[in-house]
């Protein structure tokens, strides 16, 4: 069967195989979010019938939607892959980072420390991420093989040229690469893949009813980690999540889309980008993502 995704699947699978061939210790970041789910499925298909020759890793802020963690664990056990969890709570307990406090506290920025520590601890030299170039303007500039120095830093002004389909993964001890096999996929492509190949996702990607309060025009879900802001009104709303991250900074969108087909129809006419609609962390400043990526963020 020929589909519009053929070229994209071929490109992603080629990248995943190239990394497995050239790097000593790759790892695939797996949060249970849709992009990482698609990436994991592509990795399975890249090496079938052999098993994926690397583990997966979740950087866990401890502030999760329970549906997502349940899904994560089920997924890795069904696929027979090894899961490593890098815990932000452990980084806090060991004194590496201070927990955040205050009314708008989110552990999202703390993940960078845990991520870099986990990479160093396991001596990973290639880290697959599910980031896409259509998500955000700094990501639109990033290479497929993105070099990180020994501090985990990205230098956007000094990126290696990346020509044809030839990737250069040469690095020194202690440096690593972030690898983005889904660079050229769009949100719509991801959903098309999920639909065509019948990919299972955490339930909160589909419309459901839950308590919601509004913050800066975003719809925040009330959870154990995110009590409603003082003075805000909590309402039962029918929503779904377009992106799934830390529960304290990921917002929902109003939606009645309960199937992949509904979501594809909704995405095709969406007038707001997925991160614009749902990510408090990107709203910090004009170059918020670039600045976080420079210091080693996903």
């Amino acid at each position: 069967m020929k589909t519009s995704l053929d070229g994209l699947i071929d490109e992603s699978v080629t990248i995943i195989r190239e990394v497995a061939a050239e790097f000593e210790r790759p790892v695939l970041l797996f949060s249970g979010g849709k992009d990482s789910v698609v990436m994991l499925h592509l990795a399975v298909r890249a090496f079938a019938p052999a098993r994926i020759p690397f583990p997966v890793m979740h950087i866990d802020t401890g502030h999760n939607f329970p549906e997502v963690i349940e899904f994560r664990d089920r997924c890795v056990s069904e696929m027979g892959v090894q899961l490593i969890v890098g815990s932000v709570q452990a980084s806090i307990d060991s004194g590496k980072v201070a927990d955040v406090t205050g009314p708008r506290a989110s552990r999202n920025p703390l993940q960078t420390v845990t991520l870099l520590d986990s990479i160093a601890e396991h001596r990973f030299d290639a880290v697959f991420g599910g980031a896409r170039r259509d998500e955000e303007r700094a990501r639109a500039k990033e290479r497929v093989y993105s070099h990180r120095d020994s501090f985990g830093q990205w230098d956007p002004k000094n990126q290696r040229p990346e020509l044809w389909g030839i990737y250069n993964g040469r690095h020194r001890q202690g440096e690593h690469f972030r690898i983005f096999p889904l660079s050229n996929w769009t949100e719509l492509d991801i959903w098309t893949f999920i639909g065509e190949y019948n990919i299972d996702l955490p339930s909160i990607y589909y419309a459901h009813t839950r308590p919601i309060f509004k913050r800066d025009n975003m719809l925040m879900a009330v959870t154990d980690f995110l009590p409603p802001d003082e003075g805000s009104v909590v309402e039962q709303m029918q929503v779904r999540f377009r992106t799934v991250g830390d529960a304290t900074c990921t917002a929902a969108v109003l939606s009645s889309a309960s199937t992949v087909e509904d979501i594809i129809a909704e995405t095709a006419v969406a007038r707001v980008t997925e991160r614009g609609a749902t990510r408090a962390d990107d709203r910090m400043s004009e170059a918020g993502m670039e600045d976080r990526k420079r210091t080693g963020y996903f």
Binding site: A50, P156, E162, G165, I166, R172
Partner: protein, 418 residues
């Protein structure tokens, strides 16, 4: 639905960002939050109009300097096709980034300001497009509104370009009179240029025929990864994974493996989406053979009667990309060609190409950053390659500095001069 990758080459002054903004805006691919964001930034900076370049110039340094430094990728779709835009910088000091963006596209758009006509930059960009073997070139004569939509101006620029381009290797060139700012002939037909009977830019992008761009004659399959499951249910599975670089592989085909020269027959082709009876260029597949041969990453599968060249003595056009050190003949570098890595010395710089005048400068011993020259190389192992013009995938390579790890050069292999 097909996907078309195209590059836009130029600087903000040419109206490149406005053109991209126009394509995205008119095809309803700009999201409200993106538009709100650039409106707010433009207003804060005191701009007279909404600066659409902010959509693609995503890095802090680019916003500060108001120029494109690195390639940005943008995505949009119409009911006919999906598009990947590689938005490339035009300034000479970012030539390496332009080459990065244009190396694997189906089509390139070069903009000419109708008021200035063909300038040095136009020649440089067209030369690079020609060297990279981009199959389709679109010359957009922009800002037609500023020359009263005058057919004479358009024709003169077209003649000027054709005269210059006769010295290049361009296969398919299309000329379009447009105004990106006013929207003429971008997505909708201009009402002010009745004399122009060709398609709009978007119509051309949607319909340009690319199916014959791949080399479907010469079968080339560089082995990337050997799949041998360590599981009881697949005791004898041994598959050779890779991406088809040329020709067609079919179950039942007799094939030859290089460099060993051993032959076998294809018994099966697996793909990420299931088994296939044939695989065509660009497809990532796993090939199964009838015989148990010793095949490793870096080997090449082809047909016994149609083999690539194999040599340790090579000739290439090389673009130097390292800003820390010039190309030094005699120094040992790492070379990556398809899935094979070897070591190499550049034995001689035959000439340096003046990318503005096309003249060949001899007596040169080095190439500095952004310079292009014809060189000879000696490698530690034979490369199995084709002339770049026959096959972009098996004809290209990169040079890596072994000390810094930088991608220092990009080369296109050529048949040795006789």
């Amino acid at each position: 639905m097909e996907r078309l990758r195209f590059a836009t080459v130029g600087s903000v002054d040419d109206g490149k960002s406005t053109l991209i903004g126009r394509l995205l805006y008119d095809s309803k691919s700009i999201f409200e939050d993106q538009l709100e964001h650039i409106e707010a930034v433009s207003k804060r900076r005191g701009d007279d109009y909404v600066d659409l370049s902010l959509l693609t110039d995503g890095l802090r340094a680019e916003r500060e300097q108001g120029i494109t430094i690195d390639v940005a990728y943008r995505y949009f779709a119409t009911p006919k096709r999906s598009f990947i835009i590689a938005d490339c910088p035009g300034h000479i000091q970012y030539t390496r980034n332009m080459i990065t963006g244009a190396s694997n596209v189906d089509l390139a758009i070069v903009l000419i300001d109708a008021r200035t006509g063909v300038i040095e930059q136009t020649r440089r960009h067209s030369l690079l497009v020609s060297l990279l073997g981009v199959p389709h070139l679109v010359i957009c004569v922009n800002k037609m509104d500023l020359v009263d939509y005058d057919q004479e101006v358009f024709n003169r620029i077209r003649e000027e370009f054709e005269q210059f381009a006769s010295r290049l290797d361009l296969q398919d060139v299309t000329f379009l009179p447009i105004s990106a700012l006013a929207g003429d002939n971008c997505v909708t037909r201009s009402t002010k240029m009745d004399w122009y009977e060709g398609p709009t830019l978007l119509h051309h992008l949607e319909n340009v025929y690319t199916a014959s761009d791949d080399n479907r004659i010469d079968t080339r399959f560089p082995v990337q990864f050997v799949i041998r499951p360590q599981r009881a249910d697949f005791p004898d599975y041994r598959g050779y994974a890779g991406r088809v670089a040329g020709g067609v592989l079919r179950v039942g085909d007799e094939v030859m493996v290089l460099p060993s020269g051993l032959t076998s027959t294809i018994t099966g082709i697996d793909s990420p989406t299931g088994p296939l009876v044939e695989a065509t260029p660009g497809q990532a597949v796993t090939v199964l053979l009838a015989d148990d041969l010793s095949i490793t990453r870096g080997d090449m599968i082809c047909r016994p009667n149609n083999r690539p060249r194999a040599s340790q003595e090579l000739e290439a056009m090389l673009c130097w990309m390292d800003d820390t050190a010039p190309l030094q003949p005699g120094k040992i570098y790492s070379i990556k060609h398809t899935t094979k890595v070897a070591r190499t010395k550049i034995t001689e710089v035959l000439y340096r190409l003046n990318i503005s005048t096309l003249s060949r400068e001899t007596g040169v011993s080095q190439l500095a950053m952004n310079e292009i020259g014809r060189v000879t190389l000696h490698t530690t192992a034979p490369l199995m390659f084709d002339d770049y013009h026959q096959n972009r995938t098996t004809g290209c390579f990169i040079i890596v500095d072994e000390a810094t790890g930088q991608t220092a050069g990009a080369g296109m292999l050529l048949s040795p001069r006789t």
